[in-house]
Symmetry: C2
Subunit: 410 residues, 2 copies
Amino acid sequence: MARRGANQPSVGGYNEAVVLDQIRRSHGHSRVELADTTGLSAQTVSNIVQRLLDAGIVEEAGRTSSGRGKPRTTLRLVGSSRYAVGVHLDPGLITVVVLSIDGEVIARHARATPAAQAPADTTAVLIQDIEMVLAGSGIDRTRIVGLGVAAPGPIDIQRGIVLDPPNLAGWDRVPLRDAIADATGLTVMLEKDVTAAAVAEKWIAAPGGAQNFAFLYLGTGLGVGLVIGDEVVRGGSGNAGEIGHIVVDPDGLPCGCGLRGCIAVSCAPLPLIEEAERRGVIAAERSGDDPTEVDAALTRLVHLADGGDEAAEKLLRECSEQVARALAVVSNLLDVDRIVMGGPLWDRIGETLMDTVPTRLDELRVARGVHPVTVSDTALGSDVGAIGAACLILDEALTPRPTSLLVPTA
Amino acid sequence: MARRGANQPSVGGYNEAVVLDQIRRSHGHSRVELADTTGLSAQTVSNIVQRLLDAGIVEEAGRTSSGRGKPRTTLRLVGSSRYAVGVHLDPGLITVVVLSIDGEVIARHARATPAAQAPADTTAVLIQDIEMVLAGSGIDRTRIVGLGVAAPGPIDIQRGIVLDPPNLAGWDRVPLRDAIADATGLTVMLEKDVTAAAVAEKWIAAPGGAQNFAFLYLGTGLGVGLVIGDEVVRGGSGNAGEIGHIVVDPDGLPCGCGLRGCIAVSCAPLPLIEEAERRGVIAAERSGDDPTEVDAALTRLVHLADGGDEAAEKLLRECSEQVARALAVVSNLLDVDRIVMGGPLWDRIGETLMDTVPTRLDELRVARGVHPVTVSDTALGSDVGAIGAACLILDEALTPRPTSLLVPTA
């Protein structure tokens, strides 16, 4: 993936990344075990570990004995040795997190995205939040490996440009990656929000077993992040994951694409609220379509349903049915093992979706007799986009690839 | 992928496969160039090449001089050294091909699938065709690496079972892989038809550049084979590629899934013909829904359109529009670089689709401003499923993986 930064680290070694990845996942391998699992020679492992110890990225954690032979020294990552920053620009919510190299969120800030302002002003808010979180965290800036930004698509991933997302009014080819890199001096990578969420889910998953899942992202827009055969699917231009024009309600409203009842006009947050207002389920109290107002109206709708309002319940059930239909299209096409759901709006409608989606999805899947699909919510909560953006950087640094951000070679 | 065979070859070397793959793709590398491109030592390459020469799989093709230094001996595959058999069971058409190791079709047979008979009888026909083609080809049976079978899904890829394809009446959990392995004594692999088509397309593609495409398969059913990031996407159970319940016509007919206007009830061959009959575009002359009769009716419809019949033209244009809508869903989700179309019915409706689909797909793609998608037909014609089934075997034998079918280790 294209990245840019003022202080771009040098290219490190592939073997280092292999060893680091094992140390991260194993939670306590010794040098001997690292040699066994990586296939590298004892001498190579020993040299790499010494460099990582010298760099303060790894520490000796204790000694284990396996009966015979002398005790072995186990190794672990030093969480405070390196950090990654994750920023999520949702049209309704700006979130900044700092992740330590071992995946802990050590600082966090979230705010409603300021309504109806120029992209430059919103970018300035993003940068201000980043600087505020970093200053508050007290982290030595030289320990920050990089910064990931998750933004709504379409994006130009090569150039780091946010193109013209339908829910970000006024945004048109904004070079967000370089603006943040210039202002912060950090290495910056841009990713589509739904893909960042999938990266987060992949990163925290237990080792072993090829990951094969779709992440349903519920934000101001709906989309899907994909991990197939353990690889994140970005697509030819980094814009994989668009589901807005899957028809989920043949009786639904006309869509700009020429069809009718696309999920983008049926059960994305704004059309859902508009339908609730049309049906008189909630009062039309909004002054506009601002995501914050839409979110507030959605919250009212959910509270009504929770309180037993039948019309509100019915509308949310219809929405869940439509989500299940879209996920059936994704499952039938890709034969995934898992569906994970989450994102900024998960807190609001997650419970309703979990009530309905698993059963309906199974009824709609062609391979239901052959292969189960589990449905769950992410353990990462509504910060999943920001965490995923930070994981992009950690993934680039810690996943064995020919290049690495982490340890400059001597 | 699971495979089974009475004479399953031993596990060969990974390095052999790396060298063979380079020889296949380079069309004339010398030992020195092979060492350069594979990263293997000159001695290792020399040993491997000697084994391949001894086994008759590779031959010395000539000598090249690059100016200074002594001339180098170039190497190439011996097409007649090894073969793979490919069988395609479409509900309307049974095709058997024999591919030489360098990808040439050296024998071929196709017949209409016998209508309305028990799976065991159809399997017997398959086996009879295989034996007939092999006998006619005069190939030494010991040179056949294996046999691939492409069949309609859903399948149980691990057990080699054809489950209950909607277009194969009476088929319910038929162990097709083992039946063919037992009868022929060959190593047999089973693959879903649409995926086999994608394997064929990947196999014949020029080297270089990650393959990222969807193959629209037009047979008795419609489906999609996927190659993403150069890897064939099979899904968790080998059943990826189902598109039948993508809604392409919100005004369309009810579908068994509970929705309306799914592509399976809108523009798959049988519903297309039924609609043509309802509209009086063609006479309802069929005695049943047998794929051969459906194909004949489709051919009549296409001839009418070619002759300028406006109602026939209109119906085929509507069908093309619906295909474009389904492909837009696939493209938006996966951000592919290419759409390839083909399959047994391509000869009938391919021209109509190529007239309409590229433009309409582009209008419907969310990333159209960022990223072009090319639309083309396969160069492999209506045999693409059978060729892909054979390529499965060649792919297993020639693609660098920890196991190989090809050269038993000493």
